[in-house]
Point group: C3
Chain length 146, copies 3
């Protein structure tokens, strides 16, 4: 049973869904050594989130963004407006999607479904540097899997 | 400290909430041996989800379904329509509810509340075979608890 | 590798977001001994939830509450009305926000972001006693960190 914990900074340029599966695999080559385990992701922010969704048709991502906009529209009336009209909707979206996510690992691979990819969801319009904590735990093999 | 990881295929026939707590307990009898631990559930799909909610009044499940329909209606305008008008709403609902869930385990039992049950939420109208990854970790007792 | 699991009762007086980070730290002083690990929180209820959001401006919490009210309004038509008109909206909000949450731990501290706090979200109008299961796992140091 082993643990690896690492921090990853992910720059975003504007509102959007950023695929981060490859960033995670590059940052944590130890995943390849895990026989059975779990990878936990945690985003240290309150106006962004993590999600898993479609990896093939980018229209799905566009529809997710506009679907969320309908749920937390900038045009609604908010008390917290000091950081811009996109800020409070971003807080609501962050809690709806969540900042904590776990993915099973087996035989050196994330057990994502065929159509699944991991996304950092940026809900603010201006560029940000988002901090992601990766915590990998499991039974590690002696010899790295290739 | 031990790990057990298993895959479970759950057939669905149409849109609805399917209680899966008993399926999980049957598939993972090792839960009965766990003194202290966690069970992680992961659904490998992007148009279905997992949730925990009321286990007594089935009206709650009906209201959850229609409540979600209001949040991601089929009548809204979407770009991704190639897989049917129920598909994009299903993607939105999947991210709102999430595909990753952990439940504490103690003395051989899932620590669910009195009114809680685990559900597979099928958001597509046509039948599917949904793949669930179960990852159990914890301190296992030597003698199975009865 | 060690495990600590504990139960915490949190009284609520009405609908609202209750900060619980300090309650958790008081209840689990073992967090201070964890070099690398994870804290899992699980709420044993179906009309309340857990979330992580802004810890500075309480207006954000008010806006989250009214933002959720727009998503699951008491004025909508529901089948499950026997427990009051705030009950079914509470079930919907519970599944939207989730009752399961994990937070990374390192060097004796929860790795929350600067603006993050953990909240118990009470969605019912009448007072409740909410049960939270805390499961801490990780590599524990021999000497407690001060």
């Amino acid at each position: 049973m082993d643990w690896v914990q690492r921090s990853l900074v992910l720059p975003t340029h504007s509102l959007g869904f950023y695929p981060i599966t490859q960033n995670i695999l590059r940052e944590l080559p130890e995943i390849q050594k895990v026989q059975t385990g779990l990878l936990h992701l945690f985003l240290q922010h309150t106006s962004a989130a993590l999600t898993i969704n479609e990896n093939a048709d980018s229209d799905v991502l566009e529809d997710l963004i506009s679907g969320l906009d309908r749920l937390a529209p900038e045009t609604a009336s908010y008390r917290h407006i000091i950081e811009g009209k996109d800020d409070m909707p971003a807080h609501i979206k962050s809690s709806l999607f969540s900042v904590s996510l776990s993915i099973p690992v087996a035989n050196g691979q994330l057990l994502l479904g065929v159509w699944q990819d991991i996304y950092l969801c940026e809900f603010r319009r201006i560029p940000h540097r988002r901090h992601l904590i990766l915590t990998l735990q499991g039974i590690f093999q002696e010899v790295p899997k290739t």
